[in-house]
């Protein structure tokens, strides 16, 4: 294997491990916070402070990190109807430009997310700053998506034949 590609793949694996760990922690976090909230409400007639806000943001963590993980596994939902009739060679040729195009769009959305986040950070009351920290997952995920699409393009991994979920 080309040593540059091997290095890129090693970097990708490390990144995926970190993203995977964070996504799993966020998922279990939702479950535990929600269980704590149900217990507190039903047995102690109270609630866990900030639980609702934390869970809503943790859902974004699971979802956006999951979307990042889906890039490497090439499992994003596609409506690739035309590919059914296309030869493998054409698909392989299109994969690289499509990955770079995807990276470009994610970069633009990420840029918008950074702007949004900075405004939020400056305007949010001090006691809600922690939620804004959690909301940083949006810009961070879009830039992780950029990295993964670029890596996919550079490594040149072939898309699966049909992949609607």
């Amino acid at each position: 294997m080309n040593p540059v590609v091997a290095r890129l793949e090693r970097f990708e694996r490390g990144l995926v491990l970190a993203e995977n760990t964070l996504a799993a922690a966020a998922l279990l976090g939702i479950l535990f916070v929600s269980l704590a909230e149900i217990t507190a409400r039903n047995f102690f007639h109270s609630g866990v402070p900030g639980a609702d806000m934390a869970m809503r943001h943790l859902v974004l963590w699971v979802a956006f990190l999951g979307a990042v993980l889906a890039v490497r596994e090439q499992r994003h939902i596609k409506i690739d109807v035309l590919t059914v009739w296309m030869p493998d060679a054409w698909l392989a040729k299109l994969a690289r430009p499509f990955n770079f195009f995807s990276a470009l769009i994610c970069g633009l959305l990420g840029w918008a997310a950074v702007h949004f986040w900075l405004v939020e950070w400056q305007t949010v009351p001090p006691d809600e700053k922690w939620a804004t920290v959690l909301a940083a997952i949006l810009p961070v995920s879009f830039f992780l998506l950029v990295i993964h699409f670029v890596l996919l393009g550079l490594i040149g991994r072939r898309p699966p034949r049909h992949n609607s979920q």
Partner: protein
């Protein structure tokens, strides 16, 4: 110029660019066209987080992934087979019931065919059912059960359309059961032509299967009873179901190792959730912009010349949604199409809950027809058969489902029977 770019984006989507990328590009184009700050798209994404039922999506997905990974499907087949396998065409009916039950939990991700398909197909052929019938049954059963709690697509529809999820689940019960009954009747009629030896009922096997599968049975009873009885909310049901599934597979059955297998399942869950919610989040910006430019109203103005009443509208809707099913999977269709057709349905007096059932039923059928019927592809991979052979095999089942669709479309009472008049 804009039209050319939009057509180009559609072409890219059809050629295999991830749907969220095409929709994201369309959203960016729309905000630039309107001289808006692209940050409005992120505002829409954040608004998604405030949806009270969104949390149920990862938790119900986790439930399905854990149950699937822990072998709940096999326990279920064994239990249903012990209880009902002695009936005429018992195994075929058991296949329909098991798949419906499992699809409701595993969502519309095609897991049913992967988890149950191989086992059921082998069992059906061993008992003497024809190859084409067995293939058709297993392939088409992979999407039935989508209307039963805690189906992910019902949740997603409720979130996108802003409709009560409890009401949607209530509305899906009778149509869902009707489909099971229709398919089971067909299985019994067709099964009689195969000269199959009936299974002997065994109390010992029922006892043994019950010991293995009784814990699984409590879950749907708890979810359906709790949610529809109004004792727990959708998110509470999702939390309790996920916790119960983990307890079942990690502690009671010990089929999933917490350190070697659970991380893989958590990742699988995150990927499934991520690939759906990212479409939802980027599409919200685009669809809101389309609504801002009054696209549905313009379509409505065009339709008002030709469409005269509710039935006419529903007929057109069925044709349109079946066409949508040709090119879009159910998740994308809910996110992209629902916000656009809701105002039209409202104008023609279609109840949004009934619309949800009609919408999901149409897309359920979309799983079975080319060119991108997901179940056809999964079954093709799983059984190593060509798509067209599978399509021919599912044709009778598809026919039954189309009749079912007509009935539930034109008899709204089937979905709304529980609603008090007035």
């Amino acid at each position: 110029m804009i039209t050319v770019v939009v057509l180009l984006l559609m072409l890219l989507a059809l050629l295999g660019v991830p749907l969220f990328v095409s929709l994201g590009a369309g959203s960016l184009l729309a905000v630039w066209q309107d001289n808006l700050d692209p940050a409005v798209l992120v505002v829409e994404m954040m608004r998604l987080a405030s949806s009270p039922n969104l949390m149920a999506i990862p938790l119900f997905t986790l439930t399905g992934v854990v149950l699937s990974g822990g072998g709940a499907a096999q326990r279920q087949i064994r239990l249903f087979n012990a209880l009902f396998g002695w009936m005429p065409a018992g195994l075929a009916v058991v296949s329909v019931a098991s798949c419906a039950f499992f699809t409701a939990f595993s969502g519309a991700s095609g897991v049913t065919i992967l988890a149950l398909g191989g086992l059921l197909y082998t069992m059906l052929k061993r008992e003497g059912y024809g190859e084409r019938f067995s293939l058709g049954l297993v392939t088409s059963s992979g999407s039935i059960g989508l209307l039963f709690p805690p189906s992910l697509v019902v949740l997603l529809y409720g979130i996108v359309a802003g409709v009560s999820i409890e009401q949607l689940f209530m509305a899906g019960i009778v149509p869902g059961i009707l489909l099971l009954v229709l398919l089971s009747l067909y299985c019994m009629i067709k099964g009689a032509t195969f000269n199959i030896q009936r299974q002997i009922f065994s109390w010992a096997e029922v006892g043994s299967a019950l010991r293995a599968g009784i814990w699984d049975v409590f879950m749907p009873i708890g979810i359906i009873g709790g949610m529809l009885g109004g004792y727990i909310t959708v998110t509470e049901a999702a939390t309790l179901a996920a916790a119960y599934a983990l307890l079942l597979e990690l502690v009671i059955h010990r089929t999933i190792h917490p350190f070697t297998q659970l991380p893989r399942l958590l990742k699988e869950c995150a990927i499934l959730v991520g690939s759906i919610i990212i479409i939802l989040s980027v599409a919200m910006g685009l669809t809101n912009l389309l609504i801002d430019i009054q696209l549905p109203m313009k379509v409505l103005a065009m339709m008002e010349h030709t469409v005269t009443d509710k039935l006419h509208f529903l007929l057109l809707l069925n044709v349109f949604l079946l066409a949508v099913g040709f090119v879009m999977d159910i998740f994308s269709a809910i996110v992209v199409v629902v916000p656009l057709i809701l105002p039209l349905a409202h104008r023609f007096g279609v109840d949004p809950v009934h619309l949800g059932i009609v919408f999901l039923a149409n897309l359920e059928i979309g799983y079975l027809h080319p060119p991108i019927g997901l179940n056809l592809f999964l079954a093709s991979q799983r059984f190593g058969e060509p798509i067209m052979k599978l399509f021919r095999a599912v044709l009778p089942f598809l026919g039954i489902m189309l009749i079912w669709l007509m009935v539930l479309t034109y008899v709204p009472e089937m979905s709304l029977w529980w609603r008090k008049p007035g």
